[in-house]
Every structure is written in C-alpha cells, then in structure tokens.
Subunit: 304 residues, 2 copies
Amino acid sequence: MRWIGDDAAVVRGRALAVTSIDTVAEDVHFDLRTHSPADVGWKALAQGLSDIAAMGARPGEAYISLALTPAFDAAQALELVRGAEELAEREGVTLAGGDVVRSSALVVTVAASGWADSERELVGRDGARPGDRIGVTGALGASGAGLLLSNGELEDVLEPSDRQALLRRHLRPEPRLRTGRALAGAGASAMIDLSDGLATDAAHLARQSAAQLTVRVAEAPLAAGVEEVAVAAGREPHEFAVTAGDDYELLVTVPPDRCDEAERSAAESSAPLTWLGEVGGGRGLVLVGPGGAPLIGLQGYEHA
Amino acid sequence: MRWIGDDAAVVRGRALAVTSIDTVAEDVHFDLRTHSPADVGWKALAQGLSDIAAMGARPGEAYISLALTPAFDAAQALELVRGAEELAEREGVTLAGGDVVRSSALVVTVAASGWADSERELVGRDGARPGDRIGVTGALGASGAGLLLSNGELEDVLEPSDRQALLRRHLRPEPRLRTGRALAGAGASAMIDLSDGLATDAAHLARQSAAQLTVRVAEAPLAAGVEEVAVAAGREPHEFAVTAGDDYELLVTVPPDRCDEAERSAAESSAPLTWLGEVGGGRGLVLVGPGGAPLIGLQGYEHA
C-alpha cells in the first residue's frame, strides 16, 4: 500500500465502496472563539463518518483537505489534523491522504470511505415500509444545547459536569459507526444520521422512502441538561431537541419482527434505541406533540 | 448502486482503490475575472484526475464539495458543477456525490477515485532506477504562458489562435488519464504529474526514488507560443517552461528495454513522449542548461 508522499493513496478495496464528502467552514459550521483547531478537525471527520455509519458500512479511510488562512499558523494546522487523527484512531479509520492550500477563509473538507461486501449489508434512506417502527439512538439536543452554552449565556443553568458534557457533544460529536453496523445487521429497513435535526432528517427519510413517518416528539429521549437549557432559552425542550442539529444520532426504521433484535444490538453497541413512531402508508412526516396534537410549526415540515 | 440523495454514494469496488483529494481556492488557484465558474469546476476535477493518471489507475468516481460565498449565486454554482461534469463525461468519470456549504471564500474540493486490479498495474514515484530514461508527455509551459496572457498583458505577442490555445490550456487543463495507463502498462518505473512544474516535480520523484535525475532542460518540448510569450516576458523559454505549473503532463522514468514500447504507447494515446534525461546512482535532481552547464538558479532545486 502507498500512502502520503505519492500522487494518490492506494488502499485495498472491497466489493462496494461507500463514500461521503463533507465540508465545514469558519463562522458557518464552527467558531474559532469556541472551537479549538483540534475540535474543527474532529468535527469535520465526524460529519463524514456519521454518513458512513448511517449506511451501515464498515469505516475505511478518510482524506482531509485544509484551506488555511494566513492567520492560521502551522502549529494550529497540525493541531487540527491531530484532532481528526484522534477520532480516526478511536474509530479504526485511516487518514490516508490530504491536501493543504492557502485561502481567505478556513475551510476543511473530509472525504470518508467505508466498505461493504454486499448490498445486503447496507441500509439506505429509501427502505422504510408501512408497519415499520421508528427508533432513534442515544439522546437528542446535546449539541444544540452545547452551542447555546458555548455562546457564554445561560451561565448558571447547569452543574459544571452536565455543562461540560453538553459542550463536549457540541465540540466533539460522536459518529455512531458501531451502532450503524449493528442496526444494519439487525434488519433496519432505512437509516439516516441526524445532522440537521430529527424534524428535517426524518422528512428526508420519509421522502426517499415515499412513506409517511409519524413521530411522537414527546417520546424523543433528551440528553441530560437539555431540558434545563431549552427552558432557560425560552424553548419547549422536545421541540428544541428535534430541531437542533449536529447530534449525529441515527434515526432508523425497523420491521416489526426485527425490533427486539435491533433494540438488543443497539444496546450492545452502547447506544440505546428509543421507539418513537411508526411508518404509515401515506406520504411525508407527521410530528405529534405532547397531547397527541400535531406540533404547531412543525407539522408537515419539509413534507414530501 | 445508490447515488445522490442518500447519506453516501455506493459504487462497485475493485481490488485497489486509488484516491486523491485536491482543493482550489479563489484568488489563490483561480481568478473569477479570468475563470468562468465552469473553468473552476473543470480545473478542480482536472487536478484530482491528474493524480489518478500519474498512478496509472483507471479513473472511477469523483466527489465535489463547494464552499460558496453569498456573492456566488445558484446559477454560477450549477455552471461550476457543469464544468466538472463536462470533464468527467469526457474521461468516463462519474460525479457520484457532493456537498454544498456557505463560506466567506469560494473553495472547491474534489476527491477523485481510481481503481486497479493489482499493484502491478500501478506506478508510484519511488521506482526510478539507475539506467532508466526520463521522458515527459506532450509539451510544457502552456498553462504558465496562458496565465501570463490571461492577465491582459502581452496583447500582441501571438496570433489569436495560438493565444486561445494557451489560454485554454490554462483554464481547462487536461489530465493524461489514457496516457498514464498506457505508460504504466508499458513498464514505466516511476511517474508523477506536473502540477508544480517539472523542476519541482522531478525533484519529488528523485527524492521518493532515492535516485539522481539528470534532466536536459533545453530538450523539454515547448507548447506552441510558449517561446514567444516567455521572451516577451523577459524569461528564458525553457527555464520558464520547466518552472511553470499546472501543465498536468506526466514525467516518467522507463527502464531501457521498455523505452520503445513506452514511446509507442504514449504516441497511441495521443501524447507523444520526449526523452530528456537519465536516472543515475546519486541523489537529487540535476537540471542541465543549453550548453551542458548546470542551469543557474535551478541546479539542486529541492535537492533530496
């Protein structure tokens, strides 16, 4: 295998290559007043790996390109790459290549590759069928709450430990690679990672599957401290959690006869699965509020 | 196969995946006063495909990420992608995925993938051995001369047709994919694409091969009009041609007993090969000037 130093990286392939490319830009996706260079590198890679996770693929390699401003020095650039390497090592991913150019804005792009031996191992967004249950991994709203906290407001809302945990979920989001593979193996019919928030991403999945997803928002699991932060910010906690981005949890649909297996597999991968809805025969997304009423302002959000 | 619309693209893999990631940034790699959006898309893809060409791999897919300024509108973004698609179609490459984000600078990143069935099909930078001959495809200096012309100076140096040809080589550089595969199949021992200029890229190849490359600069083939433009700009034409970037020709080393075959294969792929040096047992790069003397200012350039 050839690596850095040649025109291109050469790695062993498998039957199917699964590839995603994702970019983060300064002051749009991160803020250098709150994100360290290492956080930026971590986040750029996490985005790409989360897409690989949502396909159920096994992670392979990542390629990182840095467009650096003159103000961003070599030590910061190295720290950025080390942040990506830290996540890569944890997830068994190889940073196999890269590029560095000058630019008038700090922009980081990651191409992430995963592999599968057959199409049966993979899960798309288009397989949700009437009768399937809808589940979500982990807990929601952490990254959004961390973003609010990182702006320096809401100082006294939380204990320092909960505060730190939410900030970390914002600065160092965790792609659900093991859980994605586990759910694919347990018969998931469709899957998507929550990058834009459950309300938006569930609508994507409904559209791609040409199905109707009914999601009971009040049953969405909230990360510790999200309720307090949302209330302090004047937001309804569950609505806040399903519209906040960058959680990188997985939204999944599972046929009824595979639900026990999916629940067990997800738990074993250390990300519990919470059921919060069903797939129906119509089209689009119905978000149901606490009293069973359609949630004002969200019903039909991005309807197919 | 899944394409746009899912979390990641899924394509059929082969035994070896060859991947390069390359970025171009506004006012560093291109100038929107001279480059159309389509030129930018073309150029970003050409860079990546040129790396695939230099490995001798067969081209596969490309993934394009656009970081767009508010001033760059949707029509321009579409035109940019169409420029990349135009080159992709010509070269049998599939644009399989992408990302679009906002940014305060226009930055375009392409991850290009190629494939090979075995390592024997591929050529690195590290295989040059004493006795090998050094060849270069096509003609040099066209992109550099086109850059000078695009700045609007040197108006009357050339006939319009030569002028247009040089401008086009600057705006729409052509990766040597067929020639790269042909040379790999004809026994090339090492290969690199000329992105930074022969003087710099030959030094990379010398270093990676731990060999000495002696290149007779006066034997470098010049593109039509390069001599006139260089002279008008007060530069020695061959020195200009071997230090100008973005030609995307291939520099190759070939064992003596394969030189006829390499020459024939390159010509059949429509890029003639010109021999201009030999590999020796020392280290580094020796650029020999017209009279046989080391070229002032270039000898030992980036010595290993």
